[in-house]
Amino acid sequence: MTAETDLRARGLADRRRRLLAAWADAPGLWGFLTTVDHKRLAARYIVTTMAMLFAAGMLGVDMRLQLAAPDMHRMGPQGYDESFSLHGSTMLFLVSVPVMEAMAMWLVPLMLGQRNMAFPRLNAFSYWMYLEGVLMLWIPHALGFTPDLGWFEYPPLSGPAYAPGHRADVWAQMITFTEVAALCVSVNVVVTIFTMRPPGMTLGRMPLFLWGMLVASFMTVFGLPAVMVVTSMLIADREVATHFFSPSGGGDVLLFQHLYWFFGHPEVYIIFVPGVAFVSSIVETFSRRVVFGYVPMVVAVLAIGVLAFGLWVHHMFAVGLPKMGADFYTAASMAIALPIGVQIFCWIATMFRGRLQLKTPMLWVIGFIVTFVIGGMTGVMTASAPLDLQLTDTYFVVAHLHYVLVGGAIFPLLGAFTYWYPKATGRMMSEVWGRISWALVVVGFNLTFFPMHLLGLMGMPRRIYTYPAEMGWGPLNLLSTVSALITVVGAGIFVLNALLSYWRGRLAGANPWGGSTLEWATPSPPPPYNFDYIPTVDSVAPLWTRDELHALEGLSLDSREVLVTTLVDAKPDNRQKSPKPSLWPLLTALAVGVMFVGSIFSPWPIVWGSVPVAATIVGWFWPTRPRAQRGPLRART
């Protein structure tokens, strides 16, 4: 018996050594630049988005200080316009969407028991494109030509006549960078979830987390092309006088708004649905119970994904639409409250019937429900065509969108960060400091943004850099500013907690929270090859239904191979070679970056710039990989 155990242990050690040799990156800078490890790339993505979150948050504080009292002169209109433009564009395009994509990139393969995603090099390309997008917005800011027309730049204000210079082009092209990056990850997530689920994980046994990420990725694939098209049309109007949006040339300024919001509304759900995915995972683990209502939950998230594309006109009720048309969009917009209401019910029901453990991630979920539901309610109010005419473009909408995006996505994100932190780092974050930061952020946030509802109803428009004292908006604005500072202190504690725990946190072990899904079945932090054996599953909560997972053998130990399974039943289908580290994604991203940046100054870089792009893509796809090994896959004995 002892000898057999010994043999097994030695076999396992040998297996790990060989897998490590096949999957580990080269050391040092070369490894950093060439890696295709989804965990490294996603961690890099997350750290960059967190830096952006900090920068954009500081801009928010700066604006709050300016608005703390009436008739302040610490910022002029130009500085204020740049602040809100940079704040909104960074938060939407460089924080919210990419951080959700990054969480998917980190977690999806682990939750599928896989060694990497379907297109590892596309992940690397995506990160470099995203990083170029960050630089595209922030280097011009350092050089003094910051975009200054908000996060949606309506023509004709952003057209050639009223926005000379390159501020608007910078904004439009930053979007192209980040949307290319987001599309790459989304396609990758969809294909990975569809073709690389572990044997036994039929569509009906997919964790709700994966459903959420799948729907969000599909929405990205359908929604983002609209904004890339519209910003490219804007650049064309500005650069080669195409007149898409100029009434005097036969264009229509409303075309921009339709195309923009056809992306812009799904965008909100692209950010919110991953939040839903985090919440489902956290509620399940800390209620010690499988989430109630699997089918209603899946149907609800699919319904959100479909309905989200039929609501964009509610951003445009004031443009003078036919009343009947507006009322249709009112009904469609309100309808989305039903699937969200169903989800809220299922989470609360799970908590109610479960055995609740109020650890920090769960506290974030409670903060999410209490805050986000207010955002949902104000969303229903703004969905009403007649009422929205009073609310749109006021501080009411500022309050609403922060309740939805911060309450609905950032709170779950912070919960998810705390929840998966031990998996990523091997150490726990401090519970005590976690609770303190949670309390400060949730209370501070609500005190910052709740008064804004009232300010909006009292007639305060958004995007004004100052206001006269006789309007009487001073006291509520002061409350809002003071509370924003409280929120910042809480957020600072959160960041310090994350940093210090990296070195000083308690060791976590593989499954510190007692989670049910596959990512908890591998050591923390996971090795480069993720799993010793490819697990197979037979329920939606595999770690709860079995003491030991069944596993497959038959993938190569000495080269990079992943398992491909069928779409619906997840039956093993074939093996696929997984690409090795490569510098080509970085080179391609650089070539594309040169073309994109050049194209805001002249149309010609699109012509000559396509040559290096083509060259690097040829290098990327040069067929060098041997075929996957043959032979049967078999259950591990």
Binding site: V319, T330, L356, I366, M377, P386, D393
Partner: protein, 319 residues
């Protein structure tokens, strides 16, 4: 707080309709929110009490009681939403309904960053003014909004919700004010640097007062002041640079780019709500427009201090 620009103190039929929708919303959403909070509190209380029980996680998700509760909850949500959709539909109908056959037509043109208002007099002529809207109580005014540059939004919260002012699009907004008083409107769509200073005053008055006001606006400029510097001011304004952009009817000043100044002294504020109307305010605005409203299209005119003072005296006398 000031009710002058607040949607919470409606002074016209349209704003009142919108306020009713808000009230309905607050009731239904408020009750739903309290129900959610109650459930969360119950779940925390019950879920935390159950902690001491057996330790292995529950993997059976089915629960007939909860399924029934979910069905009931969904019905409640659907009923609530239906009430809101229906309420909102009828409110929208009522906003669109024509209230008055003999409507008063007003053209409101948004420009960076002020409002040009033009009234059609009973005689059929158009009379122009700026940044101050006068409306007769109890009558419906039809505001035809237009833009000469970028997108703005016409918004006087106590009267009605916004109507976007879009180049290339003809939008109209009906206003039926009910309460006499001073109100304030502003631009509701970001329109560039001075979006914050694109306000207008609204005076709702009795129909008789309104008719008198409109008749007075239609008359040419007539300085009403005994101040000796007014005559000098008239020369400065009507024969200097001011006249290139501004019209003062009855004088040589006939510029079209800027606001009509024929009766500027009768208005409540200067530069689209930037400053209250006063002689000092006018003088400051003439001498240093960019300091008071950075980015404004009004150029600084170099006048000697005594000329600037005379010009402001003259403008203030144009009642």
């Amino acid at each position: 707080m000031s009710p002058a620009q607040s949607a919470l103190f409606p002074a016209a039929e349209q704003a009142a309709t919108q306020f009713d929708v808000l009230t309905l919303m607050l009731w239904i959403c408020g009750v739903m929110y309290l129900v959610v909070l109650l459930f969360v509190a119950l779940a925390i209380w019950r879920g935390a009490r159950a902690r001491a029980a057996a330790d292995s996680p529950v993997t059976e998700a089915a629960d007939p009681t909860l399924s029934r509760a979910l069905a009931i909850w969904s019905c409640v949500v659907v009923l609530g939403l239906t009430a809101l959709v229906v309420g909102s539909f009828f409110a929208d109908r009522s906003l669109a309904a024509a209230r008055d056959r003999e409507t008063l037509v007003i053209r409101a043109t948004g420009q960076q960053w002020w409002w040009r208002f033009a009234y059609r007099t009973p005689g059929g002529a158009w009379v122009e003014t700026a940044n101050e809207l006068h409306l007769p109580a109890g009558r419906t005014a039809r505001v035809e909004v237009g833009s000469t540059d970028v997108i703005h939004s016409f918004w006087a919260p106590p009267l009605a919700g916004k109507m976007d002012v879009i180049p290339g699009h003809a939008n109209v907004l009906d206003l039926t004010p009910q309460r006499i008083g001073w109100y304030r409107g502003t631009c509701g769509e970001f329109c560039g640097l001075q979006h914050a200073h694109m306000a207008f005053d609204v005076r709702v008055e009795s129909p008789a007062d309104f008719d008198r006001w409109l008749a007075a606006q239609a008359t040419p400029a007539a300085p009403q002041s005994g101040d000796p510097s007014v005559a000098r001011g008239q020369v400065v304004v009507t024969q200097g640079q001011c006249a290139e952009c501004h019209t003062i009817r009855g004088t040589a000043a006939a510029g079209k780019a800027g606001p009509d100044l024929t009766h500027i002294g009768s208005r409540r504020s200067i530069a689209a709500g930037t400053l209250p109307m006063s002689r000092g305010g006018l003088e400051g605005w003439i001498e240093q427009p960019a300091a008071l409203k950075p980015g404004t299209n009004m150029p600084a005119v170099s006048l000697s201090p005594s000329d600037a003072d005379a010009a402001s005296a003259y403008l203030l006398s144009l009642k």
